[in-house]
């Protein structure tokens, strides 16, 4: 009798191997297209390509778009506010990483 072979599901690392179209990004975060358009306008997301049909979002956009969606839903923040919050959160994360590198917990 053959031993039962376990099959492990594999998938790409989004940040390194995936680029999203507008439709794919909306599907991946359950976001409305109009929200994503507003975030691109505010500079929260920076897709390559000139028109929404050609846009390609980096894998890192997934994290940013989901964060933007949570902030706008949970805290009822408008797109400029979301953009500001994301910039500040990035800055806090960079400062925390510096502290951590220096051994401060």
């Amino acid at each position: 009798m053959n031993p039962i072979a376990m099959t492990y599901i594999e998938g790409p690392v989004v940040e390194e191997e995936v680029r999203f179209t507008l439709v794919e990004l909306c599907q991946a975060c359950s976001a409305e297209e109009e929200h994503v358009l507003a975030w691109v306008f505010e500079g929260v997301l920076e897709p390559a390509g000139s028109s929404p049909q050609d846009w390609r979002f980096s894998g890192e956009s997934l994290r940013r778009a989901r964060l933007a969606l949570r902030l706008s839903q949970d805290l009822e923040i408008n797109p400029p506010g979301v953009a500001l919050a994301l910039d500040l959160l990035d800055e806090i994360a960079a400062l925390r990483a510096r502290l951590q590198r220096a051994g401060v917990r």
């Binding site: 376990m6 099959t7 492990y8 599901i9 594999e10 998938g11 790409p12 690392v13 989004v14 940040e15 390194e16 995936v18 599907q27 991946a28 975060c29 359950s30 894998g59 997934l62 994290r63 989901r66 964060l67 949570r70 902030l71 839903q73 949970d74 805290l75 009822e76 919050a85 959160l89 990483a97 951590q100 590198r101 220096a102 051994g103």
Partner: protein, 312 residues
């Protein structure tokens, strides 16, 4: 089941206006939002706030909640009185607590059967994409790993109630993955509708806290305590790395905070990360006469004023 005082959670009295409810929620939600707050209880507090707000912002639900009376205290054992909600008509819909938001038993008992998850995206044939976090050890990122993970997902049962279904997934974690990155598992999200494709599942990678190592992107940091004489005179000591200890030469005259870089010993990849060993200096305790004598001899031997800079 414990009674939940939604007014107390939002810091309000029962006479609060709808504007005051909104104001209190927004203020507290900003404070405890898990993306913003580092409070270890932030996630639990935020969930509680969301639940309280979902009830109190909605005049129908608030009226139903209020008519249970104010004699209840938070944490009291509670069963909803039979027919407590007769005469109320709920207009349904979802309350924006996130996809398939999980609520307390208390909330489910009162409002659960009125509101399904309202599965969004019915128009589209493709199933929804789902998200989950998976915790791995730092060493898994060095070597790659195979993990069986249990995911709990809210699903609608035959009566339209939300129940948590557990399902097991065997996942291959690729070598070189970093904290905060996502794996996309095609077709492991919600089933499609009308023959449509299933959605995808995104797994966010989180490292288990490690007492020895901290990761920053591809780079890994570890503290290495030295005795004062090892730092001053130089030494060869064993330093920890996630893949096992290595022999490390400490140059003479090393000071606390100095970082020694072990190139390529961070998380693998192209290029691989580096491992930084951060030197710290540990003072031996003066807990015996011999030790105190040694410290006295040092005081004699050095013409050393550590506060020089303060006096200038």
């Amino acid at each position: 089941m414990k009674f939940k005082d939604y007014y107390e959670i939002l810091g309000l009295t029962r006479s609060a206006t709808q504007d005051e409810v909104k104001h209190a929620y927004r203020k507290l939600a900003r404070k405890f939002h898990p993306d913003v707050s580092k409070d270890p209880d932030a996630e639990a507090r935020f969930k509680e706030l969301g639940e309280a707000y979902a009830v109190l912002k909605d005049p129908e639900k608030r009226a139903a909640y209020d008519q249970m009376g104010s004699q209840w205290k938070a944490g009291q054992d509670f069963q909803p009185p039979p027919g407590w909600d007769t005469g109320f008509e709920f207009s349904g819909g979802d309350f924006g607590a996130g996809p398939g938001g999980e609520h307390s038993d208390f909330f489910e008992a009162l409002f659960g059967h009125h509101f399904g998850t309202g599965q969004r995206g019915h128009m589209r044939a493709q199933g929804q994409d789902h998200h989950a976090k998976v915790q791995i050890d730092l060493l898994d990122a060095y070597r790659g790993a195979q993990r069986s993970i249990a995911l709990r997902m809210p699903e609608l049962d035959a009566e339209g109630r939300v129940a948590l279904q557990e399902r097991k997934l065997d996942v291959s974690i690729p070598k070189g993955i970093r904290a905060g990155q996502h794996l996309r598992l095609t077709g492991q999200g919600a089933p499609g509708l009308g023959g449509g494709a299933a959605g995808d599942l995104y797994l966010e990678i989180v490292f288990k806290p490690d007492p020895k190592f901290r990761a920053d992107g591809r780079d890994v940091y570890a503290n290495l305590p030295l005795a004062p004489w090892e730092a001053a005179l130089g030494a060869a000591v064993m330093a920890p790395t996630p893949e096992g200890p290595v022999r490390l030469t400490i140059p003479p005259g090393s000071v606390a905070g100095r970082q020694l870089r072990l190139k390529g010993r961070g998380i693998p990849g192209t290029p691989p990360g580096d491992l930084y060993v951060v030197l710290t200096i540990a003072l031996p305790p003066a807990d015996s006469e011999a030790a105190r004598e040694a410290y006295r001899a040092m005081a004699e031997a050095f013409d050393f004023n550590p506060r020089q800079a303060l006096e200038e």
